[in-house]
């Protein structure tokens, strides 16, 4: 095992991207993810790779578009308002089926909002985010180690499915430091990038595009994308469960909120409440089946988010009305405390026992 290193999430994910073979990073400064841009500006040239500080997020995502089209592994990072600006490019990446990794270190919104941690971009990340009928894979790590581990996965998923992959972190995860280990696990075996623009030497021209004008051709393209998304949904769901089997209540959360839930559930168990948790790691594809299965056996779900309630809609879709789904969240930089979540768990379980 390699040595444990203490790093903040932003720098750790940047180094993990470099280890994963990222050829080029393009980005525009925005808090709370500036450590990524600064770290890349130093490390990428050291590795003989490409770093460009773009003039805007719009330019950054289109630089990603260009580098990716030539077959290179490439990424950008930003925080909520900057990610909004990138949505045009992400839609084009999805349409043109270009692999890419986009890190969103979420902050409070809407608008300029603030720079405090938030999970308010869940809808944006899991519904595509830009115009048109598309999805991006969205990963929601909850520790710095997991953030590190999900970078090579993000690049592999992007290349395997020719899809943009969003890594959804937040201000806490980006800023906090934890001991980590850089694992150099074997990569997936990936298809050759024979579609890439490398100069049409001795072959027919390659064209990368998202425009399909002839009648029916775009519909056909959309069916192709959907078939791909179904494969992702079938093969790539990741989620973690804890003491679900005997649970009367299951708390569902992702990212940093899941860490708070973990503490609260532990305390609840100590107080004799049969609580468990489910933590989606892939937010899209969402662990619908896992949650649906749990819904057959228990009485209530509590969803905790650092938003006014976004993932809760996916949980409700999965539960399909079988049991109540209750939401607790804080937004705009508010972070639920362990005690607040514990209180909610108690409210939802103790009265039932007394009857």
């Amino acid at each position: 095992m390699s040595e444990r290193i203490l790093m903040c999430g932003n720098e750790a994910l940047a180094e993990a991207a470099i280890i994963a073979g990222c050829d080029a990073y393009f980005g525009y400064p925005i808090t709370p993810q500036n450590e990524i841009t600064a770290y890349m500006s130093k490390r990428m040239p050291e590795e003989g790779r490409v770093f460009v500080q773009s003039e805007s997020e719009l330019a950054a995502i289109n630089m990603v578009f260009g580098a990716s089209a030539t077959g290179k592994r490439t990424m950008t990072s930003s925080s909520s308002p900057g990610i909004s600006l990138m949505q045009e490019g992400i839609s084009y990446l999805a349409g043109a089926e270009l692999p890419s990794v986009i890190v969103n270190v979420m902050r409070g919104g809407p608008g300029l909002g603030n720079i405090a941690p938030s999970q308010g971009d869940y809808f944006q990340a899991t519904r595509g985010g830009g115009h048109g009928d598309y999805r991006t894979i969205a990963l929601g790590p909850s520790t710095v180690q997991e953030l590190v581990d999900c970078m090579p996965l993000a690049f592999d998923l992007a290349d395997q499915y020719r899809i943009p992959v969003v890594v959804l972190a937040d201000g806490i995860l980006g800023q906090m430091m934890e001991p980590i280990v850089f694992n150099k696990k074997p990569r997936r075996s990936l298809p050759p990038k024979d579609w890439a623009l490398t100069g049409a030497k001795g072959r027919e021209q390659n064209i990368v595009r998202s425009l399909w004008l002839p009648e029916g051709s775009l519909e056909k393209h959309n069916y192709k994308l959907q078939a791909k998304y179904q494969q992702v949904q079938k093969n790539e769901v990741l989620c973690e469960q804890y003491e679900v089997d005997d649970a009367e209540i299951i708390v569902i959360a992702y990212g940093v909120a899941a860490r708070i839930v973990r503490s609260a559930v532990k305390k609840a168990r100590q107080e004799g409440i049969k609580a468990g948790w489910i933590r989606p790691i892939t937010l899209w594809p969402f662990p619908t089946m896992q949650i649906a299965k749990a819904a057959d056996e228990l009485s209530i779900f509590l969803v905790v988010e650092m938003s006014m309630g976004q993932m809760v809609e996916d949980v409700k879709l999965a539960v399909a009305g079988k049991v109540p789904v209750v939401f607790y969240g804080r937004a705009g930089g508010g972070v639920p405390s362990v005690d607040q979540v514990l209180e909610k768990i108690k409210q939802l379980t103790i009265p039932v026992k007394k009857q």
């Binding site: 773009s54 289109n62 630089m63 260009g66 490019g89 049409a200 064209i207």
Partner: protein
Amino acid sequence: MKTVFTRTPTLKDCLTHYCPGCGHSIAHRLIAETIDELDIRGRTIGIAPVGCAVLAYNYLDVDMIEVAHGRAPAVATGMKRTNPDKIIFSYQGDGDLAAIGTGEIIHAAHRGEQITVIFINNAVFGMTGGQMAPTTVLGQTTATTQQGRDAANEGYPLQVSELLALLPGAIYVERCALSGPAQIQKAKKAIKHAFELQISGAQGLSLVELLSTCPTYWRLSPVKAMEWIENEMTKVFPLGKLKDESQRPRISV
């Protein structure tokens, strides 16, 4: 019989969707000829804009990408930085480059990206139905300036090439016109020079602006349209080299 003209291989043997008398077809041919003459088809990547030339990849037989409106210089940056051995060119209209994409072209030039930009200025938006472009001349009627462009309301025609020539990162900026055989020959020379600069590894962006016809939305015959370039457009957009620093030595910190 002696062959006096032949289609260059990089220009595909097909009909285009362009209107009769449109300058795009000429510009395409000049680029294709340049690519063949310089023997760079195998390492060239072209970027098509949003606008009438969005389907340029149907006519130019090189690796090509079609990108979001105005973003071509950013896409070109991503390509060239990761592939310094490739020849990257963007092909952009006046809506793409002079309106929605001003930020991207200015900053690509500002950074001195080693790319070649072919800028088609026909003073009007073609694909969307003949609306005003930033380069529409004063008094010109379009779908959105039906009484003629009025400086008080729409501002003056934007001279992007003059603007870009001010930037140290732009090494070569020239304006030509596709308004007749002699001018077209000059344009060909300029395009070739721009590509040659990139091939030589010159430190900066090269751009050729081509004043081009849009007979359909100018509501002129193809011949009259060419005359309109000579008589009207060149008054606002004078022809010639705005900058050529191709001999500039390599800059390092």
